[in-house]
């Protein structure tokens, strides 16, 4: 079979990245056990060993969000096996392509890991259960309907016989899967919905080699890389004479847009890299700066006849007729993902023409394609070994830059495994950053103080234009740039949202909850409107939400849990915000204080989330805590500035991460209402910045319209 990657296939798979693009995938037709597969493979997802051990194959990636365990819970729930005997393993990406993409999407982003595969993985479990029961019933020559299952033991009560799953797995694997299976009502769940321990934690606390940076192979060499500090630049010339002579250095690899030193340890490679004299061609971007980027965005706001991401009623006319118009501009900087584990890829081009790659990837299919294209090999000659991710946050899905580089370096050293690991400085300066943006909002209020019109203009670089241009809509609108306005739940009769795509030379990418800066703008502006109307911010929002809107439920739940309206300790102030996205409804109350010196302290966060169903409540709470600390750094002090075409920040000294003392108390209220499947990896970050900034307004009387807070003097005026 030939599996050369076509451009079309590449786009199809690339489209499975990020938010909202799961490909159609049906179960069970595609899931039959592979002819010649080990007899224990009941179907592609489930291997049952003779001693009853159940191994569940996981197609998505694990970066601490818990999907690896949650998906196993869902399969095991329907399989009706003994959870104590369940373990998980990553499905092989090479086998995945050889079996016609049998595991569906391997993309792990957009808080989709569970919600976009829950249906077919549960059906995989239910289907396997039916086959195991059918195999036992056939052996006993009784109707399958007379058999029951408890924790992997099949029983026939009338004849008092029992068989274990491990005893019938081989026979079950030879049966055809049932045409239809009935899934369990979540209210009857015994394994799913419970706070089981995550599978990946024991190895992580032992320091086992689970990450891409931990890969060690016989004869492996190490590479450190330098890319042009100015985005888009190329190598003009290098003087490698000093580096070449350094201890342990094996090779200098020069490509069009990077230079790598390969040595027998990473430190030696990196020390030699510092001694390279590289002259870069900065491709005309050497003058780009925060000033030119700000001007580019402002030019966007000035344009007429922009494509409209939402148009309800007639916002310009309603604004012209309004009794009062309130207007504000908000903005945000570029932000790096700063994954704790820097970008890493080990590649080994073996003499027989097979390429093995080990990497931390949020999309193993995209990694396979990037590796195959770079190596010039068909997909069946490539394997991507999925490692646990030392943080992902959207960095490791779309671009696959580190995989292309790793394979290019390995091509220069055929037969030798080479581990490319970026230095922190390289990682800080060569990200795919959260877009900088500038937004203008105009609200029209009628004579009774009622909000009648809202006209928003968004100037923002497009993530999709960089990473998945085929996903732009017909008007050329990037939904990630306009969300929270284009899908605003507030019942404003006249709404217009204009989008000015302004792409600078800084690469942009999916940064945890892409587009979330718009939630900051919108929810702070709503507070501005509530204040102008003399209304309580919770009451003001409730009045703008339709009856039955699930946003109401989470807002009411969080107000109750946080004691909204109750007395606070002296010097502590509250703020509220809501934002639905990533399939879930989320509302938050933040409590802050500000020292006399103007230092903000976020003390307590209460968040209510309705994700429809909850597969592992402990993991969901952990994700809320994660979103709070991840967002907190971007609120307090993180930004990536641009000067002379390059990112200014170099490491965690000038791109700070919050420390334990800065972590607020986080109280997570899970209010699943059933009937839909929402995510947890991103929802809680969406309302964080506006809840905090609304609280800071209460504390200081200062309206924060740009982040981070380190730009502002927060001493009370």
């Amino acid at each position: 079979m030939s599996m050369n990657v076509s451009r079309r296939e590449f786009l199809k798979v690339s489209a499975a990245l990020g938010g909202g693009f799961a490909l159609e995938f049906s179960f069970p037709a595609a899931s039959m056990a592979l002819p010649g597969a080990p007899v224990q493979e009941v179907n592609a997802w489930i291997v049952i060993h003779p001693d009853d051990r159940v191994v569940i194959r996981i197609a998505r990636s694990e970066m601490g969000q818990g999907t690896y365990t949650a998906l196993a819970q869902l399969v095991a729930e329907e399989l009706d096996c003994d959870w104590a005997k369940v373990s998980a393993e990553f499905a092989s990406p090479n086998e995945h392509f050889r079996r016609n993409r049998i595991w569906g999407s391997m993309s792990t982003g957009g808080s989709m890991g569970v919600r976009s595969s829950q249906d077919y993985v549960r059906k995989a479990g239910a289907s396997a259960r039916a086959m195991l029961v059918a195999a036992a019933a056939a052996q006993w020559k009784v109707p399958a309907a007379e058999c029951t299952v408890d924790k992997g033991i099949i029983a026939h009560a009338a004849s008092a016989r029992k068989l274990r799953y491990g005893q019938v797995a081989a026979a079950a694997a030879r049966l055809a899967p049932p045409q239809e299976v009935k899934l369990r009502d979540p209210k009857d769940w015994k394994i799913a919905g419970k706070p089981v321990h995550r599978f990946d934690i024991p190895d992580k606390v032992r320091g086992k080699p689970v990450f891409a940076t931990d890969v060690a192979l016989p004869g492996m060499l190490h590479a450190s890389i330098a890319q042009c500090p100015v985005f888009g630049g190329k190598v003009k010339s290098i003087d490698a004479s000093a580096a070449q002579a350094m201890r342990g250095v094996k090779k200098i690899v020069r490509e069009e847009n990077f230079v790598a030193v390969v040595a027998d340890s990473w430190w030696r490679a990196n020390e030699a890299l510092k001694k390279l004299n590289i002259v870069w061609d900065v491709a005309g971007n050497g003058d780009a700066s925060d000033v030119t980027i700000a001007a580019m965005l402002r030019d966007g706001l000035a344009q007429a006849n922009l494509p409209q991401a939402r148009n309800i009623g007639d916002a310009p006319a309603a604004l012209a007729a309004a009794a009062k118009v309130i207007e504000a501009e908000y903005q945000s900087p570029y932000l790096n993902h700063a994954t704790p584990e820097p970008q890493t890829c080990t590649a080994w081009l073996k003499p027989e023409g097979f390429l093995d790659v080990w990497t931390s990837t949020q999309n193993a299919e995209a990694s396979m394609i990037a590796a195959a294209e770079t190596a010039g090999l068909p997909l069946e000659k490539v394997e991507v070994h999925k490692m646990m991710l030392g943080g992902g946050f959207g960095r490791r899905g779309g671009p696959q830059d580190f995989v292309k580089q790793g394979v290019a370096i390995a091509k220069a050293l055929p037969g030798v495994p080479v581990k490319l690991m970026w230095s922190r400085e390289e990682d800080m300066q060569h990200g795919f950053y959260r877009p900088a943006s500038l937004v203008r909002m105009k609200a029209g209020v009628d004579a009774e103080g009622k909000l009648v019109a809202m006209h928003t203009t968004v100037a923002c670089p497009s993530i999709l234009k960089v990473l998945m241009p085929e996903a732009l809509n017909k008007q050329g609108i990037d939904f990630t740039a306009v969300r929270y306005f284009s899908d605003m739940p507030y019942t404003v009769p006249h709404q217009q949202v204009d989008y000015a795509m302004r792409n600078g030379h800084v690469p942009v990418g999916f940064w945890r909850a892409p587009g979330q800066q718009n939630a900051f703008y919108r929810e702070c502006f709503i507070d501005e409107l509530a204040l102008a109307a003399g209304k309580d911010p919770v009451d003001y929002r409730l009045a703008l939400l339709k009856a039955g809107d699930k946003n109401r439920l989470v807002l009411e739940a969080v107000a109750k849990a946080a004691g909204w309206g109750s007395a606070l300790p002296s010097g502590v102030y509250r703020g509220v915000a809501l934002a639905d996205g990533f399939g879930s409804y989320t509302a938050m109350v933040a409590e802050v204080s500000v020292s006399a010196a103007g230092e903000p302290v976020v003390r307590r966060i209460v968040v209510a989330i309705d994700s429809g169903h909850v597969v592992n409540p402990d993991t969901c709470r952990a994700q809320a805590e994660s979103n709070v600390v991840f967002g907190l750094g971007s609120i307090l002090y993180q930004e990536n500035k641009v000067k002379n075409g390059r990112i200014v920040e170099e490491n965690f000294n000038d791109f700070r991460l919050p420390q334990i003392a800065e972590m607020p108390k986080v109280e997570t209220v899970l209010v699943p209402t059933g009937g839909f499947w929402g995510g947890h990896g991103e929802p809680a970050i969406q309302p964080l910045a506006p809840a905090v900034c609304n609280a800071l307004f209460s504390a200081t009387g200062k309206r924060i319209r740009s982040l981070p807070l380190s730009r502002h003097d927060l001493r009370r005026a």
């Binding site: 704790p340 994660s626 600390v629 334990i660």
Partner: protein, 155 residues
């Protein structure tokens, strides 16, 4: 040739005396539980014990640790899991887990010195950076250990 005492065993290594300990552990001794995060002694992913003190191995030249007892996550406990590691499992502390071996080394050192650390002690000693937000669970696990009876040398 330099001789290092790592996890109770002597290792002869033929490397530059200025090479930071981290890279000797990771690339020469294949002890990859100690992580690289920043290389400038900020994030703490590279934390090991040197004569019982938590140190950032990314910025510690080899010459400074010759003759000292170095303990990494792999050697924190000789046979069973260290009680900090057990508490980390019980409290589901790690998320991505990349910073957690360093976090565990810092917590073990803190508890060895102060069996019942206060919140202020934790704030001061646990300077490891975590991007995933495990801080509330780190704090809860340390407090739980402070309240738990200590059994045996390594438990």
């Amino acid at each position: 040739m330099l001789t290092l005492n790592v996890n109770g065993r002597k290792h002869k290594v033929d490397v530059e005396p200025e090479m930071p300990l981290l890279w000797v552990l990771r690339d020469h001794l294949n002890l990859s539980g100690t992580k690289y995060g920043c290389g400038i002694a900020l994030c703490g992913a590279c934390t090991v014990h040197v004569d019982g003190e938590p140190m950032r191995s990314c910025s510690l030249p080899l010459s400074a640790v010759v003759g000292k007892a170095i303990v990494t996550i792999e050697g924190l406990s000789q046979r069973h899991l260290h009680r900090v590691q057990r508490a980390w499992i019980e409290h589901e502390v790690p998320q991505c887990g990349y910073c957690q071996t360093g976090m565990i080394m810092s917590a073990a050192a803190l508890l060895a010195k102060k069996p019942k650390p206060t919140d202020a002690d934790i704030d001061e000693s646990m300077s490891n950076l975590c991007r995933c937000g495990t801080y509330p669970r780190v704090r809860a696990a340390i407090h739980a250990l402070a309240d738990a009876p200590v059994v045996g040398k390594n438990s």
